[in-house]
Point group: C2
């Protein structure tokens, strides 16, 4: 079993039966450290190396029913995804992820296997990104809630914000686009395949190394694609006071995504342009910069008009919205 | 009004009407920065100075109904208390608090004044501790939930863990003890006074500077009193593999606390020894150390017996439990 790599048996009983301190013992016993962890879980606070003399920090909250479903994703996958989402924010600043802290709300009648597998997922995704879980807090409540804070180190580089894009820059993206949204569409219709897209929805694979690499390539602005490419580029356009135009022919929509789109009656470009949660990294670069093959140039930065718009082939995308957590699709 | 220091009018409408981005704009517009804030809210992540090359980090989760009540505390007080609780963890490592991140779950029908006042409280408590709110995340959910991560800097000092207490050390405490518990007892019985104790429950005043100061005084182990003195000293006893004995005559129980105890039928020493949430700082020091008057010596560290116990006048305290979030009072 993926989630019990050492052949370790699942924890017996519920969260309530194990108790707060029993559960904390069980969870922390599964963690691994990195050289950056100067003091791990178990004290008032953790101590993490910050060799750059600056620390990059980001917090995200995920609720059951809203951000994940236990019938669609295993606890392990929820852990992988929750960690990935936050670690990608660190990478998108140009920093190397170092640590993760977890605030966890759990119902007392939840089987303890769930948080144990969740922790395995968090740990393994941290491993991929070079980070470690260093601390957290667990309280009892009705709705499973994960509050994750990721930390990172800039290693002497300047942080790349959303505010530095300049007219003439190219827009380039690396990582997956639309895969999670296609997987979500499949699950929503009660199917479980094609597996590659369902897996992409359950467990995104952000290109962590691309963030720091983009700084070396001269990125002028950068973000990860969490709400959808158009929505996240709109943040760059607004912060940089520019317009951005995407070219649809620049995207390489896989044949299988076309097939799924046809089956469910959705233009797959919709997923590519507005689907979030794959945590691709999108950045703007000076036009003369030679980018490695992993980066795909998909548009360009233009002089600002009255509003900082993001257009597709020069026009508004019909449904170019992002997600507003209080209002729903905008 | 305390919570609108600039005479600024309250935000109209509900959280849902304001929307996620409107609310974020409203909340971040109220924040102040410190020189340690290299990049504040609004990007993928914040950037905070960590001159020591290590960062101290701690996360706490607070739920409405479990950790605070809206009929007992204003949003402003909840913010003050939530920040205090986390910033005290940083101080208890011997570090200076630098930054705070906020994960926030809010019902859509909540009036937007609530999170706005909450943010004012968080900001003002950060001010007291020398820190600043640098980022966060807001999502919609049923139960108001605060997930707070505090960061701090050790300024070249060694972190003081719970594990360094040695037989012969003295146990000393600074800050308030039992005031929050007395205030809670008052509120629980439907009263609102004496005001000093109710205020202490609503808005603790951790002695932030005492943490770093204790390092200079040679503290061997340290923690903040969040679950109750005996419970938190038990963490030190366990981590340090020692026993700790407290002397009741060393505590200075205020006359007014005696009066309240008599009125509600509780030995006020119970509040002093087992009441949490005042976030006093307790530390162990070598016996030869001359401590400033703000520190009160209340016990001593003894050689370990079979179990790492905390005793009071050499005996078990009849109700020396702490709080287990899944099991209730232990």
């Amino acid at each position: 079993m993926l989630s019990f790599p050492g052949g370790r048996p699942p924890t017996p009983g519920t969260v309530g039966e194990l108790g707060e301190f029993g559960l904390i013992r069980e969870l922390t016993s599964r963690l691994t450290a990195t050289p950056a962890v100067k003091l791990g879980p178990g004290d008032d606070a953790a101590v993490v190396a910050a060799p750059d003399r600056r620390v990059v920090a980001s917090t995200d909250v995920l609720l059951e029913g809203r951000h994940f479903r236990r019938d669609w994703s295993t606890a392990y996958d929820v852990g992988r995804k929750a960690a990935a989402q936050n670690l990608a924010d660190i990478a998108a600043m140009g920093a190397a992820p170092t640590a993760l802290l977890l605030g966890l709300v759990l119902p007392a009648d939840l089987h303890a296997t769930w948080p144990v597998e969740l922790m395995d997922g968090l740990r393994d995704e941290c491993d991929v990104a070079g980070a470690a879980v260093v601390g957290g807090d667990i309280v009892r409540g009705e709705t499973i809630t994960l509050a994750i804070t990721a930390l990172g180190d800039l290693r002497g580089r300047e942080a790349v914000t959303r505010a530095g894009a300049r007219p003439g820059d190219v827009v380039a993206v690396t990582g997956w686009l639309g895969w999670s949204a296609a997987g979500y569409a499949i699950l929503q219709r009660g199917f479980r395949s094609p597996r590659a897209f369902v897996e992409a929805h359950r467990r995104p694979e952000p290109p962590y190394h691309a963030g720091p690499a983009a700084v070396a390539l001269g990125a002028t602005a950068m973000t990860d694609v969490s709400d959808g490419l158009i929505a996240d580029l709109r943040h760059i356009a607004t912060a940089s006071k520019v317009c951005i135009d995407l070219r649809t022919e620049a995207f390489d929509v896989p044949a299988q995504m076309h097939d799924i789109g046809q089956a469910v009656g959705v233009d797959p470009l919709q997923w590519v342009l507005t689907g979030g949660e794959d945590h691709a990294i999108v950045a703007t670069f000076p036009p003369d910069r030679k980018l490695p093959a992993r980066w795909r140039v998909v548009g360009e930065v233009r002089h600002p008009s009255a509003v900082s718009r993001v257009t597709v082939n020069g026009a508004s995308w019909q449904d170019g919205g992002g997600w507003d957590h209080f209002r729903g699709e905008s």
